[in-house]
Amino acid sequence: MTLLVVEGLSKSYPRKRDFFGRVTDRLDAVSDVGFTLGRGETLSIVGESGAGKSTVGRLILRLIEPDRGRIVLDGVDLRAMPRGALRAHRRHMQMIFQDPFSSLDPRVEIGRSIEEPMLLHLPLSARERRARALALLERVGLDGGYAGRLPSGLSGGQLQRVAIARALAVNPKIIVCDEPVAALDVSVRAQVLNLMAELQEEFGMSYLFISHDLSIVRAISDRVAVMSKGRLVEIGPTEEVFAAPRNDYTVELIRAIPAMAHG
């Protein structure tokens, strides 16, 4: 069942201006990108830096305003919506970023950071919010004692768990994950990825997983979309794309994955 439909999504930035300030050249960060995302599905967007994959994630959440294109979530056209009305819909789409150290306010206690999105989106009393924050903390594998701590007292993996708890706080339908484990140590990476898989089974949300790490993408995605120079060059079920890539750029990308010496 389709949850999100994206069509003709485009965004360009002025690159050069003439003497009078008129734009003479534009950089197409994202051009004409379209795909669908099913309920409970994990779709990964891969590509190299500058390919436009993170911009797509931000455009869908309208953190950046698209130039053109349609974004339809559960039958509601988000682009046709004025910014004020958009806020209510934001709770359906949450985001997790690469660097957990800079995505949490260093002076705000962990528990309060998790309560914050509830404050905006859910009609709960202070006590209910507190209880929910503690339950979410435990659900991501951190005991309630962490609620009173500041981000500086937690490791990168623990902070990413907090970011996940915060994204979950408002029961989103989609979580856009922008390189969520790229900054984590190898032994901690698997813990966070497994937690994300468990939560998806439990709550049924969809993941739009943005990553440059093809070996991780292969292990966790149902489908994969490949981007190059702002365009979506290939999309399909993960194993089909890896086994028989159709696009030359995808071939190059897969060939460049360092292979382990043993089988």
Binding site: R218, E252, R255, P258
Partner: protein, 329 residues
């Protein structure tokens, strides 16, 4: 002399002040690097792999730390406690170094050619014109197209991969015996990474220099190294030929680390290591890995320090169960 390893580190301990107390960041590093060999130094953050390489360059003091114990011999000479003049000659001339963030190591106000020519002039005392010529030749060697022209460009006109090539050109400009590469491709895109790794492999095989390749990425390490040394929380825990170690790891940490890498195909769950990496000021009696280890022997692993033991086949491992495991593998 030729049989002696180019670099030998024994029982190295490096301390840094944490909250007013000297705290060991590296507590027991041991490794040997033969001439012409590429050794992978593998570990996660806080394992002490980068600090170990800083100690080889004699730079621990500049970072505010101190070498508390142990020895580092480079080409038969002791580096620990060596005179600053000797260390200066070692750095750049006999040991080259490249880092993770190539852009940050280049001065934006100088052309890339200036950077390389300056290194050549400092260590070789040649004329400006000769140094420039050598810079252009080096740029060409590291695969920069139209080198004579591009030498006049500034770092911001180069991509990340090209900046790393410039760093490599600087590092090899004095034909060092050892190249230390600290996560050289971590910040690069995967296709660029493949090209830079190829370049490093070519340079090592044609010059005969040794390379200490520091990385957390086991797949990359398996592609470029002949031997691997694994560090965990400040200690060397396993050492051996790359292919053998990856096929049959003996330390439980190495085994878990290798198992946690996703294989090919969609997976329901990844194998993982429970717990997290201890911070340097956490006191863990016995084996540093024992709180996370699945084959811990109660009453042994958490009570006494474990030695790094060398087996008959030349592989070393710091684990009480290593004897049985070596027999099994």
């Amino acid at each position: 002399m030729q049989d002696e390893p180019l670099l030998e580190i024994r029982d190295l301990a490096v301390e840094f002040p944490v909250g007013g107390r000297w705290t060991p960041v590296v507590s027991d590093a041991c490794l040997g690097l033969a001439r012409g060999e590429t050794l992978g130094l593998v570990g996660e953050s806080g394992s002490g792999k980068s600090i170990t390489s800083m100690a080889v360059l004699g730079l621990v003091g500049e970072l505010g730390g101190r070498v508390a114990r142990g020895s580092i011999r480079f080409d038969g000479q002791e580096v620990v406690g060596a005179a600053p003049s000797l260390l200066r000659r070692l750095r750049g001339e006999r040991i080259g170094m490249i880092f993770q963030q190539p852009g940050r190591s280049l001065n934006p106000a100088f052309t890339v050619g200036d950077h390389i020519a300056e290194t050549v002039r400092r260590h070789r005392g040649v004329s400006r014109a000769q140094a420039w010529q050598r810079a252009v030749a080096l740029l060409d060697r590291v695969g920069i197209a139209r080198a004579a022209e591009r030498a006049r460009d500034y770092p911001h006109q180069f991509s990340g991969g090209m900046c790393q090539r410039v760093m490599i050109a600087m590092a090899i400009s004095c034909e060092p015996q050892l190249l230390i590469a600290d996560e050289p491709t971590t910040a690069l895109d995967v296709t660029v990474q493949a090209k830079v790794l190829n370049l490093l492999r070519d340079l090592v095989s044609e010059s005969g220099m040794s390379m200490l390749f520091i990385s957390h990425d086991l797949a990359v390490v398996s592609e470029v190294t002949q031997r691997v040394s694994v560090m965990y929380a400040g200690q060397s825990v396993e050492d051996g030929p790359t292919a053998q170690m990856f096929a049959a790891p003996r330390h439980p940490y190495t085994r878990a680390l290798l198992a946690s890498i996703p294989g090919s195909g969609r997976q329901q769950r990844l194998k993982l290591i429970e717990g997290s990496i201890p911070s340097p000021d956490t006191v863990i009696p016995g084996c540093r890995f024992n709180p996370r280890c699945t084959c811990r022997v109660a009453g042994v692993c958490e009570t006494r320090a474990i030695e790094l033991r060398r087996a008959a086949d030349g592989r070393s491992v710091r684990c009480v169960q290593a004897g049985g495991m070596a027999a099994a593998s």
